[in-house]
């Protein structure tokens, strides 16, 4: 049987990928941020998960405004990164697992989540940077990966509560997969940041730390927040942090927090790294 062995949160911003590409991870600006991933790297080394589901939002690579799905899941055997218009070099492609994806998609749809299934899917920085910061750069990635895209760009967005419920349904889907497989869920994006408007550059450390505590110990606190309230506290782009709720929902009611790391600023954002295991 497949099993969710843990959940991770991580930033997915382009600057993280650029810092890796430019060899800046040990520079003062970046060192504290990147060093905070070491315990996660050790855990991944030790646990050797078979597959990671990366919950992220597309920023205008695979989806344009003509078709914005609330929730989309990759159902392919491979996913390509591609030109996002900024001159970045695309990474090596990622191996998926179509059978596993279709099992999950079917279970989610049967649980009344109205998924968009994607048999071909370009993955953007929101997917790629979590992979790079968690696993390093590879020509052949050491783990299978499945993109699960949440719309956090074109309002109306799914609520934090709906994301949490999606995570709970994801656990049901994965727990019912008949083959042995160790699965990790990554909730990516956030934390507080705003890119546009006169309030651009806001970071709300107090709120970010409250969210981190809630994700660990009291997910209903986060799930009960309205989209408006989260945007007011975390910024219009900080709303991305709702994707952490998908990861959290997939871990079950209680979790053990193995690692907790926060840093600000990285680029415009507060950045939170969590490593959680389902607990009792």
């Amino acid at each position: 049987m497949a099993e969710i062995i843990g959940g991770i949160t991580t930033s997915h911003i382009p600057a993280v990928g650029n810092a890796i590409s430019d060899g800046l991870t040990q520079e003062h600006y970046w060192k504290r941020f990147f060093d905070g991933y070491q315990p996660v790297h050790q855990w991944l080394e030790e646990k050797k998960p078979d597959l990671i589901i990366v919950v992220y939002n597309d920023h205008g690579l695979n989806f344009f405004l003509d078709k914005v799905p609330t929730f989309a899941i990759g159902c392919a055997d491979a996913y390509q990164n591609a030109d996002e218009g900024w001159g970045l070099k695309p990474t090596a492609p990622f191996d998926g697992d179509a059978e596993f994806s279709w099992h999950v998609a079917e279970s989610l749809i049967n649980q009344e989540f109205d998924m968009c299934t994607c048999q071909e899917m370009l993955v953007d920085h929101g997917f790629v940077n979590p992979m790079r910061v968690l696993f390093g750069d590879h020509e052949v990635w050491p783990i299978k990966a499945i993109p699960l895209a949440v719309n956090t760009v074109q309002h109306p967005l799914p609520s934090a509560r709906r994301c949490y419920k999606l995570g709970q349904a994801l656990k049901v889907a994965i727990d019912s997969y008949p083959e042995d497989m160790k699965v990790v869920i990554a909730g990516t994006g956030g934390m507080s940041h705003q890119l546009q408007g006169e309030r651009a550059g806001m970071i709300n450390v107090d709120y970010d730390l409250e969210c981190i505590e809630s994700i660990i110990n009291d997910p209903d606190w986060f799930a009960d927040q309205s989209t408006d309230h989260i945007m007011e506290q975390a910024g219009t782009e900080g709303i991305e942090t709702i994707m952490w709720m998908v990861m959290r929902g997939a871990l079950g009611e209680k979790v053990n927090c193995l690692h907790k790391h926060y840093h600000a600023p990285i680029s415009n954002t507060g950045a939170g790294v969590l490593l959680l295991e389902g607990g009792a």
């Binding site: 205008g60 405004l65 030109d83 218009g85 546009q196 450390v205 408006d228 907790k260 600000a264």
Partner: protein
């Protein structure tokens, strides 16, 4: 016909990319989206005005795009992520665009952000449980 008013419109200094904004700027965002494709970037560079016409931009939006008025483009309904495909290759980062909203330079904007780091480690020590190297 009036678009419904939303509470989020009252969040100060913030523009939420909703149906109303997206609808008003669909063609312009479609133009920026096309910049994922190198051949489209080249076609635009060869004749920006003609490329704007091809996508059916309004005269106002076309003028903003042609003169590379990134702030104007954002105010006119561009989504920040789509706009980035226009601005970043031209040396204007998302931070520069954010700074422009406040009438400060990108360096000043980054300085202000860096202030968030001051006292952070001490703060996290007090919170407890955080990794600190």
């Amino acid at each position: 016909m009036v678009w419904k008013k939303h509470d989020y419109e009252d969040i100060p200094g913030s523009y939420v990319f909703d149906g109303k904004i997206a609808h008003s700027a669909y063609a312009m965002n479609k133009l920026f989206y096309s910049f994922n494709d190198e051949s489209c970037r080249e076609e635009f560079n060869a004749d920006p005005a003609a490329y704007c016409d091809k996508f059916g931009l309004t005269d106002e939006q076309k003028a903003l795009v042609v003169k590379q008025d990134f702030l104007g483009v954002l105010r006119s309904g561009a989504n920040i992520y789509y706009m980035a495909k226009f601005a970043i290759p031209r040396g204007v980062s998302v931070q520069d665009a954010g700074a422009a909203f406040q009438g400060i330079t990108g360096d000043e904007f980054r300085e202000k952000l860096l202030e968030k780091r001051e006292g952070l480690e001490e703060r996290l020590k007090k919170e407890g449980g955080y990794w600190n190297g």
